[in-house]
């Protein structure tokens, strides 16, 4: 057992876990933040995507110990004071989800994508960049629409504002 400390959604947290504990287990089991999902055991589905030091990573493929000292943002950290994040709003508006299992990962990936590309995102780029996120329900079409809409609404300021 070791003590791991990090900042999660702006709050300093620490907890005891084994060295083999995955970041996603730490987030879900130690912190009780169950919005981050586990959809596979092969690092392919992206349901577990969170941001570590501002970058989208698969929290099932990182140890909690590796994230010691890092800044982590999970899906719970996006909305501020009851106001949904623009990407969350766009997913709701465009029906970018059905069962919702993949949605936290999709949204965290979309926010990261908009941070990197800003308002310049086009459909081809969105589809290519969603390679690491699998949805079994929607057929992706409305997810892509939601990401494009959020990117254009967030506009030129998107690169900075995405977080």
């Amino acid at each position: 057992m070791a003590t791991v400390s990090m900042t999660v959604n702006g709050r300093s947290v620490s907890g005891q876990c084994e060295d083999r504990t995955l970041l996603v287990q730490f987030i879900r089991d130690n912190l009780g933040l169950t919005g981050t999902h586990v959809g596979c055991d092969t690092s392919q589905c992206g349901a577990c995507v969170v941001h570590v030091d501002g970058k989208a990573v698969k929290s099932c493929t990182m140890l909690a110990a590796q994230a010691d000292g890092a800044e982590v943002t999970t899906i719970e950290g996006l909305a501020s004071g009851g106001e949904l994040h623009p990407v969350q709003l766009a997913f709701r508006e465009h029906h970018g989800l059905q069962c919702g299992f993949c949605t936290p990962g999709m949204i965290m990936s979309a926010v990261d994508m908009i941070r990197r590309h800003g308002g310049k995102l086009d459909e081809k780029t969105v589809r290519a960049e969603l390679e690491g996120n699998i949805c079994r329900c929607t057929g992706y079409h409305n997810i892509v629409k939601a990401v494009l809409d959020a990117a254009s609404k967030m506009g030129d300021g998107a690169r900075i504002a995405a977080e």
């Binding site: 070791a2 084994e18 060295d19 083999r20 995955l22 055991d41 092969t42 690092s43 392919q44 992206g46 995507v49 970058k55 989208a56 990573v57 698969k58 099932c60 493929t61 990182m62 140890l63 110990a65 590796q66 010691d68 990936s109 990261d112 994508m113 960049e129 390679e131 690491g132 996120n133």
Partner: protein, 266 residues
């Protein structure tokens, strides 16, 4: 995943010392291959030595055609580096097409070549670019480094510190990704060097991992154009065959990808 002990290395020396303290220790770089393997219980290192905080193993420098990439540099940095795009566009393209954005944020060049997956992208790039792999104890040419499927010249506990490349005159990479995994079903890297020689390296297709194709290298050395490959035959007897593609299909892909790589190199 079996139990393991995590250590965070602060320098190259520290990493080598931590790893040598235990027979069953392994280096942990981006973890994008090692952690999935541990989750499947196909690897069970007693100790993990994290390289992501070793400053001297990170970052890119380009000086008068000499490119140096730290072993712990993630794929995303190679993919988005303006200096790499100018000095070796084929390598930037290659890095930008490894896996997905999340894998590229974590996975590193050192981890990729140490693993030498027969369908990984970097081995083809480094072999065609005639790269030098710098470890904590020596320098190894790419020709000597990649010794077979999942096999390299690395000794027990030897640590890759950086990769060095002389910027080529032209470079291009084309890959036909496996639609499920994104690894190369076949990928070909073509580099024309300053002295006019051409190196062509193929990944994803060889039954024994990455390899160079002498016939295509000769054809391209006398005429660096996609048409020059028309008359070259790719023998399928040493190529991989699996549920994704037969060896004959891969042989065809080798030629098609090589042509695209030459066209991309311009």
């Amino acid at each position: 995943m079996y139990q393991t002990n995590y250590h965070r290395a602060s320098s190259v020396e520290d990493a080598v010392k931590l790893a040598s303290a235990n027979d069953e220790a392994k280096y942990l770089s981006g973890g994008q291959t090692l952690l999935p393997t541990m989750k499947q219980r196909l690897a069970a290192p007693s100790d993990l030595v994290d390289l992501r905080h070793v400053g001297e193993m990170k970052g890119i420098s380009v000086n008068g055609g000499k490119i140096r990439i730290g072993a712990a540099t993630p794929h995303v940095e190679v993919a988005t580096s303006a200096e790499i795009a100018a000095a070796c566009p084929g390598l930037a393209h290659l890095a930008a097409h490894i896996g997905d954005p999340h894998v590229r944020h974590m996975g590193t060049i050192g981890g990729s070549i140490a693993n030498n997956d027969p369908a990984a992208d970097y081995p083809a790039g480094l072999l065609a670019l005639n790269a030098t792999i710098v470890t904590n104890s020596r320098s190894i040419s790419a020709d000597d480094f990649f010794t077979g499927m999942f096999d390299t010249a690395l000794e027990e506990g030897e640590l890759i510190v950086a990769v060095e490349i002389t910027a080529p005159a032209k470079s291009g990479y084309a890959k036909f990704p496996n639609p499920a995994s994104r690894y190369a079903l076949t990928g070909v890297f073509v580099a024309r060097h300053g002295d006019g020689s051409v190196r062509v390296a193929v990944t994803g297709a060889g039954a024994d991992g990455v390899f160079r194709h002498a016939g295509m290298e000769q054809a391209l050395a006398s005429n660096f154009s996609a048409d020059a490959l028309d008359g070259v035959t790719v023998d399928d007897s040493d190529l991989m065959a699996d549920i994704h593609a037969s060896s004959a299909y891969r042989a065809n892909l080798v030629k098609v990808m090589a042509k695209r790589a030459v066209a991309a190199a311009g």
